[in-house]
Amino acid sequence: MTKYLYIIKTQIIKSLTYEFNVYGNIIMQTIIMITSAYFWKALYKNQSAVSGVDEESMLTYIIISSALSVLMFTNVERRIEQSVEKGSVATDMMKPVSLFGVYFAEDIGSIIALIFQNMLPILLIGTLMIKIPAMADIRDLPLFILSVILSFLINWLIAALFGMLAFTAVNIDALIQVKKHLLRLLSGSIIPIWFFPDAVANVLKALPFVYIYQLPLSIYIGKGDRAEQIAQMQIQFLWLVVLFAIFFAVQHRVTRKVMVQGG
């Protein structure tokens, strides 16, 4: 365990050396945040609430969504891709550590650095330019945090599974971009899926993506009652279990394959 804690620490050191990399993301998130704010303001002009969500809550939703996107940072796909391309997967495997344990620890380290480099500035900009993104009911905080942790794990597993494509496809740069933006769309992070036609919304509810962004955000703005939230979190947990099972099976096969084909 201490090994992985140290990997996290090293990753934080590494992330902090690239200060300039992070400004791009702050600017991008600010643009997304501000444009959606105007978009929702315009949309709510003649309406006080849509699906039980008023304008104020919606603005909170998008600020927290931008902040949350920092926690959904994953480098595991690119890390796998590069280690396959450069063959460093071989030297990684030479060490008495689990390959994916290392990737996970590295992502945690990066995110800890990003919380300071990215998330806090985004929250500050959102607060100054849009509104204070206060939580609807502070008593929901434990539930919100738990749900964010599950979200994070689901998101990471999807990324890791995706990255494993690199073992067969080698170059997945373009696919990583497609996945990233598709995921933001399907997860309700920019437009919550209650705005989608029922049929589409129902399909999306069955997929794991909405449980990455929309569920914790709904809890944050106090949408729906407690029973509904708990029910959704059960689905969220179920997805986590399913994805972990798939991940575990695939990971086993993929590492075996690398060891047969050569790094």
Binding site: I7, T10, M93, M94, G262, G263
Partner: protein
């Protein structure tokens, strides 16, 4: 220490026909070809040996090293390190081995060298006092401490290889695998590397297995060599014995005062140019002293030198077959 038994590795390679037609055909009906990269290798290596693996490019040296260090799973056969099968107990066995690939690094580009070492210290769970001791010891050989604060990406190749060597020895492995460690290094870095290998072998009884194309490495380091070609073992044994067997001759170069060179019945004159003549003789037939003595009765000799058959000749003979 290390026991390799009937080691085989087959690769399936997509067989593509040339040209556009072939490319299109390959999309629909890919043909596979099996390549035997390593074929039935068996040998034992004892503790504290330095063994050189030589062979032309694509002979299967790296594949063998990769299988021996547990990165590749053999198609057939087994590798036992200290009696443990590497494919079955990978995590336990890798603690006992260190690997340096000359063409890639295990150091982290974004970290300073010292930070990379610290990370390895935690990964291998090396105790602080042991870590300090090892580092001091390695520093005495390579002078690595002055590089500790330098980011790896700013290092020269020579410095990086030094860093890699230290990194591979931090956890005091019993076996060190070096895959073309001297590739691209300048003379002084090569010298430092060879010195390092010799010293850790003496001090720590580390078993060293290296592949190289640099014959100097072999001559200076290895008592034992294994020659492979096309994945098959050609030779395995003591370097000087192999030289004696494959090239059981020496060449005597004699310089006379004029252009006339006498013949000698026990050897063959291979070259004769100007005042200089070369006599090739079998070691079992005669000695250089005898030839010189005989020749000097016929003509006055100005100067002599002896050319030994070296590893180059071995390689030429072995590769040529």
């Amino acid at each position: 220490m290390i026991e390799v038994k009937n080691l085989c590795k087959d690769y399936k390679v997509k067989h593509k026909e040339p040209g556009l037609k072939g490319a299109v055909k390959g999309l629909f009906k890919p043909g596979f070809e099996t390549v035997h990269a390593v074929n039935d290798l068996s040998f034992r290596i004892g503790e504290g040996e330095i063994v050189g693996f030589i062979g032309p490019n694509g002979a299967g040296k790296s594949t063998t090293i990769k299988m021996m260090s547990g990165i590749l799973t053999p198609t057939k056969g087994s590798v036992l390190i200290n009696g443990e099968d590497i494919t079955k107990h990978r995590k336990a066995v890798v603690r006992n081995i260190g690997v340096v690939f000359g063409q890639r690094t295990q150091l982290n580009w974004d970290l300073r060298l010292g930070e990379s070492f610290e990370l390895l210290k935690h990964i291998y769970q090396i105790k602080q006092d042991e870590y300090d001791k090892t580092l001091d010891e390695l520093d005495a050989i390579l002078g690595i401490k002055e590089l500790m604060g330098k980011p790896v990406r700013q290092m020269s190749l020579g410095q990086r290889v030094k860093g890699d060597l230290v990194a591979s020895m931090l956890h005091s492995p019993k076996v060190l695998f070096l895959d073309e460690p001297t590739i691209g290094l300048d003379v002084s870095s090569k010298y430092a590397l060879r010195k390092f290998i010799r010293e850790i072998n003496e001090l720590r009884k580390t078993t060293v297995i290296l592949t190289t194309h640099d014959l100097g490495d072999i001559q200076e380091l290895c008592e034992r060599i294994i020659i492979i070609n096309h994945g098959v073992m050609m030779e395995d044994g003591n370097l000087s014995q192999i030289v004696d067997r494959i090239a059981p001759y020496k060449t005597l170069v004699v310089e006379f005062y004029d252009e006339e060179a006498p013949k000698h019945e026990k050897c063959e004159m291979t070259e004769h140019e100007g005042n200089i003549a070369k006599y090739k003789f079998m070691k079992k037939d005669t000695t250089a002293a005898e030839i010189i003595a005989d020749l000097s009765t016929v003509k006055t000799i100005k100067d002599v030198s002896i050319e030994e058959a070296g590893i180059d000749d071995i390689i030429r003979v072995a590769y040529g077959s």
